[in-house]
């Protein structure tokens, strides 16, 4: 009997790429539940339709690239992209919007670059930004939250997606929109005049953010990623917001708490910037990467043209990731602290 020849190590840990992706999917559940509670079934329909499309596009791309379907579909990476994009898109988005977004994510951002592991940009964010630039009207209409507007049912949600012409959405400006457009009201007045602000950062938003935070903490516990990038981003964002917060004048950029809990901050910190493929590699690099995203999020939100900024900030920093890697190589065992000292 011929003996098997394999190189060491012969033992292997329990972790697999599929399990990493499954954990990420699982961690989004609380956030999705909260979003559904406050904004109705729109997000859920987004996610399901996006998932179907993502698997179809992934299969198509794999077929065209002559790769084994089962092996690559089994890594769940397309599903993760779909769920993340589905969450990021406004609830009750029409089917074609989602299709364009998913096609951009899977075909353009992922497979044109060589598939999983080779994409320099976060696929979900590429899809999101393509849509945001191409269809600003559809992308900036967010549903009114529970208690402020009337929530559509599941059937309405399906109708909104697949026969968008027959659906009349109840949409409303998000707190970030209102803050951006505000130029005369004090923060306290702004909060009082607009029901959607809720307690800290907007009805629905604050709870969804906390739910994503919980999911993210669970992923940290599961060691799917390290704390460096998310913490750096949140700290940088909070610090910048605190630095520019003047106590609530009409020119105020919003409190640190508002920035942490509104929009896509928490979702971005734990589900978007933690995408390892397109981020910096070393722990130090991820600190820099996260912190700069936090800074950019604030700058774009307050001084830029768009109310939210996570997608842009992430894509800009994706560009910078290799550069960051260049300067954040960790000190290896037996090497002096600084590179010059090694020579």
């Amino acid at each position: 009997m011929a003996l098997m020849r394999i190189t060491s190590p012969h033992a292997h840990g329990p972790m697999s790429t599929a399990r990493v992706m499954q954990n990420v999917l699982l961690a989004t559940v609380p956030g999705v539940i909260v979003l559904t509670h406050f904004f109705g079934f729109g997000t859920l329909v987004n996610i399901i339709w996006a998932s179907i499309l993502a698997l179809a596009f992934e299969a198509l791309a794999l077929r065209l690239r002559k790769r084994p379907l089962g092996f690559y579909l089994g890594d769940y990476s397309a599903l993760v992209t779909a769920v993340l994009l589905g969450i990021a898109l406004p609830p009750y988005s029409p089917w074609w919007l989602i299709a364009v977004g998913i096609a951009s994510s899977i075909l353009l951002a992922k497979h044109l670059y060589g598939g999983l592991g080779y994409n320099p940009f976060n696929p979900a964010m590429v899809g999101y930004v393509v849509l945001l630039i191409s269809f600003p009207v559809q992308m900036s209409s967010w549903a009114a939250p529970r208690g402020v507007g009337e929530l559509p049912g599941l059937l309405d949600a399906l109708q909104a997606c697949f026969t968008p012409g027959n659906f009349d959405a109840v949409t409303m400006a998000t707190p970030l929109d209102l803050l951006k457009q505000n130029n005369s009201l004090l923060m306290d007045d702004l909060w009082q005049q607009n029901a959607q602000f809720g307690r800290w950062a907007g009805i629905g938003w604050e709870w969804a953010s906390l739910a994503f935070l919980a999911g993210g903490l669970w992923l940290l516990y599961q060691r799917v990623f390290t704390w460096h990038a998310p913490v750096a981003m949140l700290v940088a964002l909070a610090l910048t917001a605190a630095l520019f917060y003047d106590g609530g004048s009409s020119a105020s950029g919003g409190s640190p708490l508002f920035h942490l809990l509104s929009g896509a901050t928490m979702f971005g910190a734990f589900f978007i910037i933690t995408d390892p493929v397109s981020s910096a590699v070393s722990t130090r690099g991820r600190l820099v990467f996260g912190a700069l995203i936090g800074l950019l999020v604030y700058l774009i939100r307050v001084y830029g043209n768009y109310p939210d900024a996570v997608a842009f900030a992430v894509l800009i920093m994706n560009f910078a990731a290799p550069f960051i890697d260049q300067y954040t190589q960790p000190r290896s065992y037996g090497h002096a602290a600084r590179r010059e000292d090694n020579e």
Binding site: S8, A11, G13, R19, V20, S77, G117, S332, Y333, H335
Partner: protein
């Protein structure tokens, strides 16, 4: 309690040590054949000192070291050397290597040996020689010659002697059982080594998953000053560099030796071997090896003779062939698969692992690297394995080296945690090998370049030297000539002298020939030669005329001159002959000469007349002559016919007439042509 430090990264693979630690050490016995590779250590292979057919005793030297970084080899039991040949050995590449094969006789008869009663009384170098002669090489796995490692220069100053009892690899319990059963010998070995390197402190590092071994060591170490340091279990804390960091908080500089931070590190198995060599005079001929995995029914530790085959050892442990598909020498993290169960146990074999397929499943196909960074978190050398993988795969070796590829200790932690099942370590091994090869190639080409340039320089130098010599000679000659001229030419100029010598020679020759030949003969010769030349010249002239060549005039002049010479020569000859005739008695022979001369003269006259004629005249003459001959022949034919001569003769005459007619026609056309031209 001593402070212990943590090192970066590390993993916690399932330990699987309980299976083999339950039973005490068993003696594996004497197999029928022992195969002893000459290279069981790092360094030059040993050189055999026995012959085929030679009887050897247990402990007898069978191969001697081939240099400083090398160790000798001893017969593990008594028997006969049956072969010295290439056999398959336990090596990751599965290659063969030279081995001494011993057919054992089962008597296990020792050679005379004795130890030192008091090792402290002998010289340090003598102790080192004993260790070296005992053939001890690091028994933790690498197999570096122990005596070399212990030859630390006194001025280095060793602060800490560390004995490595960590045994962090899963499954292996060889060190654990050694601690449990031979703790005193470990301590004794530690003291001998300490006597050699004179450290400030002696530490034995053990992971906290070996409480019984720790307890045994602590008992044995009481009052000896040897400290047992226990630290949390984490793979690969048994790596030399990692252990040094755990116990001292210091890092060995990249590419440096532990002595750079004042540390000497030895495996506890090596310590026992040192003790056996020094105290008992027993060379390294056996070792403790763990046999484990679900492929054996009786996993445990064996005291096994070096050179026993894996198959023999597995048989002792009740090996189940059907359960096992791969045999690993070493542990599951850093061990390597062997090609064949018949490879021998060597000095570094701490474990033979025969796992069931479910126990250590074959790796699934690798997926894409998602740069999750789990490998970087696990890396004990603080490298970025994902980047190294990227560079190795893309053959960007410069970048890989920049990312400290060569600080990778190949512990396998990165591969263990990789969710995409990428065989990372294999990529690094390949990259390292390629870099080493590239360096060698670069070195070689550099060497060739230097040689080539040296040769060029040498050739140029030789040329310059030759040139210088030539110049010196020339100068010397000129100097000589100048001096000669100044001294009134007592010596002639060499060239002038040579010319004069040549002239003198020529003159002598001319004189010699004159005296040898008579004047008459010479004249005759001249006539003949000149005539020949005239003939040639005339023929050339005729040809030139026929061709209508431009050279006709020149040739004509040449012919005239030659003829004049010939006439002169003939005249001279005649005068000479007449003078000779008048001088001597007229002889009979003189007449033919005259007749010949007359004939020659006639022919010459005819030729002269002929040569003077123009081509037209010549052609016409030739035509007339031919016509005359034709008439004659026709007349002869008519005469013959009339006379009724034989038909044969008539036919011959007819053909003659015919030929002549053709010639006439030819000559006529030639004559016409010349007239036209």
């Amino acid at each position: 309690m001593r402070q212990v430090y943590d090192f970066h990264g590390g993993i916690h693979p399932p330990e699987n040590k309980h299976q083999s630690i339950a039973a005490p050490i068993a003696d594996a016995g004497i197999p029928e054949e022992l195969v002893l590779p000459l290279a069981q250590h790092i360094g030059a292979p040993a050189i055999p000192v026995v012959e085929i057919g030679q009887k050897v005793l247990k402990g007898q030297l069978i191969a001697e070291p081939a240099g400083f970084v090398s160790v000798p080899l001893h017969a593990p039991t008594s028997g006969t050397v049956s072969a010295i040949e290439d056999r398959q050995i336990a090596h990751p590449s599965g290659h063969s290597a030279r081995c001494v094969v011993i057919a054992t006789d089962g008597k296990d008869e020792w050679i005379d040996h004795s130890g030192l009663a008091d090792y402290k009384s002998v010289d340090r170098s003598e102790l080192l020689t004993i260790i070296r002669n005992a053939g001890i090489a690091g028994m933790g796995g690498a197999g570096f010659p122990t005596a070399v490692k212990l030859s630390v220069k006194a001025e280095v100053g060793i602060e800490t002697l560390i004995l490595n009892g960590t045994e962090c690899e899963p499954y292996i319990t060889a060190d654990d059982i050694l601690m449990r059963e031979r703790a005193e010998q470990i301590i004794e070995g530690a003291q001998i080594i300490a006597h050699l390197v004179q450290p400030d402190e002696i530490l034995i590092g053990v992971e906290d998953n070996k409480p019984e071994g720790i307890a045994a060591l602590q008992t044995a170490a009481e009052g000896t000053g040897v400290e047992i340091v226990v630290f949390p279990t984490k793979y690969p804390s048994g790596g030399e560099k990692q252990l040094i960091e755990i116990l001292t908080g210091k890092q060995v500089p990249s590419g440096g030796l532990p002595s750079a931070v004042g540390v000497v590190c030895q495996n506890i198995g090596s310590a026992v071997a040192v003790r056996d060599a020094v105290i008992d005079g027993r060379p390294l001929i056996s070792r403790i090896t763990t046999v484990t995995g679900e492929g054996v029914n009786d996993p445990r530790n064996y005291e096994v003779l070096l050179g026993s085959s894996l198959a023999y050892l597995l048989e002792q442990a009740d090996y189940q062939t059907n359960k096992n598909k791969r045999l690993i020498m070493g542990g599951p993290m850093m061990g390597f698969t062997v090609p064949d169960a018949h490879v021998p146990i060597v000095k570094t074999t701490n474990c033979v692992l025969a796992p069931a397929e479910t126990e250590l499943p074959a790796p699934p196909p690798a997926q894409a690297c998602i740069r999750c960074g789990m490998c970087a978190e696990a890396c004990p050398a603080s490298l970025l394995p994902q980047q190294l993988f990227w560079f190795s795969q893309g053959k960007e070796f410069e970048k890989a080296e920049q990312h400290n590829l060569f600080d990778c200790i190949e512990c396998g932690a990165c591969s263990f945690v990789c969710p995409s099942n990428i065989p990372l370590v294999q990529y690094y091994r390949a990259a390292k090998a390629e870099v080493v090869q590239l360096r060698k190639d670069a070195e070689k080409s550099e060497h060739s370049r230097i040689r080539f340039e040296a040769r060029q320089t040498r050739l140029e130098r030789e040329d310059a030297e030759k040139e210088a010599k030539r110049a010196a000679r020339k100068k010397a000659a000129e100097e000589k000539a100048r001096l000669a001229a100044e001294q009134g030419s007592t010596e002639e100029d060499p060239i002038q002298a040579a010319i004069e010598r040549a002239k003198a020679k020529k003159a002598a020759q001319a004189e010699g020939s004159n005296s040898a030949e008579s004047a008459g003969e010479k004249l005759e010769k001249a006539v003949v030669t000149t005539r020949k030349r005239l003939d040639t010249a005339t023929a050339k002239l005729t040809a030139a005329k026929e061709d209508g060549s431009d050279l006709v005039d020149a040739l004509q002049t040449g012919v005239d001159k030659t003829r004049a010479k010939l006439e002169a020569a003939e005249k001279a000859l005649r005068e000479h002959q007449q003078a000779a005739i008048t001088k001597e008695q007229p002889t009979e022979e003189a007449k033919p000469i005259d007749a010949a001369q007359v004939a020659i003269k006639k022919a010459m006259a005819a030729r002269v007349a002929d040569a003077d004629k123009s081509p037209e005249e010549k052609a016409r003459e030739a035509l007339q002559k031919l016509e005359a001959r034709l008439q004659k022949s026709e007349a002869r034919l008519a005469q013959g016919k009339a006379a009724g001569e034989e038909e044969k003769i008539i036919t011959a005459l007819e053909s003659t007439v015919e030929r002549l007619r053709e010639k006439v026609a030819q000559a006529q056309s030639q004559a016409n042509e010349t007239e036209v031209s």
